[in-house]
Symmetry: C3
Subunit: 157 residues, 3 copies
């Protein structure tokens, strides 16, 4: 374990937070790949009038998943796809193969990434870092209709 040079922390800031805003996003994917949901989530935060709190995303599927990753160089997404394919290859002796060779790898890739994401909202904005985007990852080869539940909990204006 490396020692950090330093850790600093801002003073805690408290508000009364009693609002819960929910919505459902439906995404028609065009086959395996990353779908950037960031602007859609930002619109939800804006329409909800969210001020302080957090947004959560929950995907209602086991062969597609969620991740937060770099938004700048598209080769990053290609390399992430390669990395997942190496960890969960097709035709690797899986017993569950009735839905096609891409199905069991899709379940494994879902297990290794996220079913839900949590992003703070501060002063009405998603507290994402400069290089972060919110992605749905379609792990199946063919297009699928995917549902993601959005919830904001906190204060609204």
């Amino acid at each position: 374990m490396s020692s950090p040079e330093s850790i600093s922390r801002s003073a805690p800031s408290t508000v009364s937070a009693t609002d819960l805003v929910s919505a459902l996003v439906t995404i028609e994917t065009s086959g395996a790949g990353f779908v950037d949901l960031t602007s859609e989530i930002a619109k939800f935060v804006s329409e909800a009038g969210a001020r302080e709190g957090a947004v959560t995303l929950f995907i209602r599927h086991t062969s597609a998943s969620l991740t937060i990753q770099e938004n700048a160089d598209p080769t990053v997404l290609g390399d992430l796809t390669t990395a997942l394919a190496r960890m969960a290859p097709e035709n690797a002796g899986w017993r569950h193969d009735t839905e096609g060779p891409d199905d069991m790898p899709a379940h494994i890739k879902t297990m290794l990434t996220a079913s839900s994401l949590h992003i703070p909202v501060l002063k009405g904005e998603l507290a994402l870092g400069t290089w972060q985007a919110i992605y749905l990852i379609e792990h199946r080869s063919r297009p699928h209709r995917r549902e993601v539940v959005l919830q904001f909990a906190g204060t609204t204006r």
Copy 2:
């Protein structure tokens, strides 16, 4: 990155959400494998009188973890076990081996899956997809006693 055919989103729905309900689930596992917690969580949601909000699960261990996966074909769970064993094999030169050959792989499998899960509750029901179940994964060979903290935050009746 693939482009989605379309993204649509329902109108945001807001409620005042001020209730927090907590409980502790204790699971005596019978050794390595998946334990389906879905009906137990559904009972908690029902007994809590949960209406709108989310349930979170938190596992208090580093050699067992949580995941949301397919509930239909049991060979999926077998293949997920195989996939984790390939990524975190026993006797692969691990330095931490005093607690047995299954211990360090159990920590790695925990790191690759989830310590906490978040599932929305809408109209009093877990917003799981048709094929989703909530599993505890016991990564150790022998039976263990495992604790999972449940919390519902939102509105109750």
Copy 3:
């Protein structure tokens, strides 16, 4: 799937939870490795006056991540580093290499671990298990300045 010997659950306990406390932690890492944030998070919980609810952590980066892992034997952290390096090796044909050979592996390791963590707070204390610690994992070789957003939602005194 193994059958559990038994599952038991405590009675649900409900409180009115309307407080949201936020803070930002800045960590200057000293290069690749694990940084234990547990005592810093415990201080935040104490200063926030948190009683019942949950703390969430969100890391604003895509080449460093979060995990909950064993706090006892430091060789566990070394073996976790080895496991991640085997799954995301340097010089493995990645297309994204302009920021150095450690950059694309850092993105993959981030995808495989967590961008956010959720830890319940019960009776004013983090509900961590005996062997659990909260770690930031720096995946880049060189020191970096990292930001983690902390939020407690629940009841405060």
